[in-house]
Symmetry: C2
Subunit: 316 residues, 2 copies
């Protein structure tokens, strides 16, 4: 079954649906970073979103898109990261159950956060097959509705609300950069941005050690097997099928950055912007600083995707 | 010569005067910290202010309060910290000179930042006498106007604009907590808060190792000699004469906190609020967590004063 991309209307509906629950995050500017980049940078602070990541938008839209009858049995997903936590929080805003499938070996702090957010945890072996088998089992046993982390129309629509806010708050942009992992954020943002400004340039930032999206675009077919090797724990997922289609359709240019470049950009964001952002978020600034000629003198929106990081263990 | 406190009208004038230059900083909320404190916390993020600290407000108001004739010869201050940097930035918005007197031994990174902001540096020995002699000399030689870091009506009025914004953004509060160093922020905030809400409770947070304000209030007279011993580099100054008068007049309750309590609160702010705040800023959360009975169930504004910290050297 092919999963449809959302349209602008669905993203606007998502914005109305999540408004009572999500935070309208600020957009920050910084003279020192502008000077360094040679561009006008607008940082959309999703690290300040509920749960510390943009993921709450998509999860919340999915949960509140359900009819009462569908919602009754709760929702289920497989994610030991920000999406699992976001879905648990979103489910709690509607008073329904969230089942989260967690592979053995997942980061304990993240799993604890998901549990604290009220989810029912289901442990499985750390393989795709085990994860999918467990998901099917939980759906069968509970009737819960699957909310995929990125290959889901409602989730992509929710993530696209970032751009509706960013364009309004900035007063207009020439380009937008978001990280690319599974591609849910990128897909929603591209649809929203081109729906409002057909000529805006869209860029994805991808770790060199998880550059399946860049390679899939280059070779004209989706890579289905790839072993990621990057410090960016939020960007290790393979880009989804509908997500890759969105990247193609919206002419997204993917810039790959090394972990060293990303860590340096992360440190700059902490030091100059005074924000705690997680390493995956810093890929966007690393990308702008790596290819400054593509952004010179332009108004560039950068989505800082999250701030869920262990402040006792900094990577620099 | 006694220095007058500003009135509400002067604080409103200051708000209009600095509006073209200062950032309207966001107010953040956090469910986890609310639960921990048992109160409704509203964090005013002056770490996101221009220059990374609230100090820009007072400096900017002082600079733009001058007549063209007064402004011609520039401004001068003695501060190797956030005020020196703020005054340099404020002077540059008006295209006038800023002279900053820097004692030998000041933190090199801060001094470099002041120089980068365009100030003329004047070095002196690290004593009050040398500082004042150098200030007099610079005023004599250049005709520059002195802008004291906190015992200055224009500076206090500028700092008070924090509360005009905070009360508007929060929709009303029962209490406000700010750190107390020289007392410029506390004085301006107390006047603004009581001008708008006569019954709001005002609290100061002071490091136990620099508790001259608490002791001065307790003994009924201003302590004039005190050797501070605290990690909170922004709060080592003795509370000023007019500033102490403001604390008395506005019934400010000062809560003292240990450096350990402050460092733990700083870590909490980084981890939960996703903000880089400097250690002095964290005294406000430490104070609320130390005496929760004074804040239970109330709407409490906390001013996070700055974010100028070396991210390579965290105190935990």
């Amino acid at each position: 079954m092919s999963i449809a991309l959302p349209n602008l209307e669905q993203i606007r509906d998502a914005a109305a649906r999540i408004a009572p629950h999500a935070i309208l995050t600020p957009v920050l500017r910084n003279a020192a970073l502008d000077a360094l980049a040679g561009a006008h940078l607008y940082f959309k602070c999703e690290n300040l979103q509920r749960g510390g990541a943009f993921k709450f938008r998509g999860a919340c839209n999915a949960v509140w898109s359900l009819s009462d009858d569908e919602a009754r049995c709760g929702v289920v997903t497989h994610s030991s990261g920000n999406h699992g936590n976001a879905l648990a929080m979103a489910a709690s805003t509607r008073g329904i159950a969230a089942h989260v499938i967690v592979p053995e070996g997942a980061v304990r702090a993240k799993v604890e956060a998901i549990e604290q957010a009220g989810a029912v945890l289901h442990r499985c072996a750390p393989t795709n097959a085990a994860r999918e088998a467990m998901a099917a089992e939980v759906q069968q046993a509970t009737g819960a509705i699957m909310v995929h982390p990125y290959a889901d129309t409602r989730v992509m629509a929710g993530q696209g609300t970032v751009v509706l806010e960013l364009l309004h708050q900035s007063g207009g942009l020439d380009a937008i950069v978001t990280p690319v992992g599974g591609g849910g954020l990128m897909a929603g943002c591209a649809v929203a941005a081109h729906g409002l400004l057909p000529n805006i340039a869209m860029f994805g930032a991808e770790p060199a050690g998880a550059s399946d999206a860049a390679q899939s675009l280059a070779q004209g077919a989706r890579i289905e097997h790839f072993v990621p090797a990057t410090i960016c724990d939020g960007l290790r997922a393979l880009v989804g099928e509908p997500n890759l289609a969105a990247l193609r359709e919206h002419h997204v240019a993917v810039i790959t950055v090394s972990d060293e470049e990303t860590i340096a950009a992360m440190r700059l964001l902490w030091q100059s912007l005074k924000l705690v952002v997680e390493v995956s978020s810093a890929t966007v600034l690393a990308a702008v600083l790596k290819q400054p000629e593509r952004f010179a003198g332009r108004r560039v929106g950068l989505v800082l995707t999250g701030g869920n990081v262990d402040v006792d263990a900094l990577p620099w």
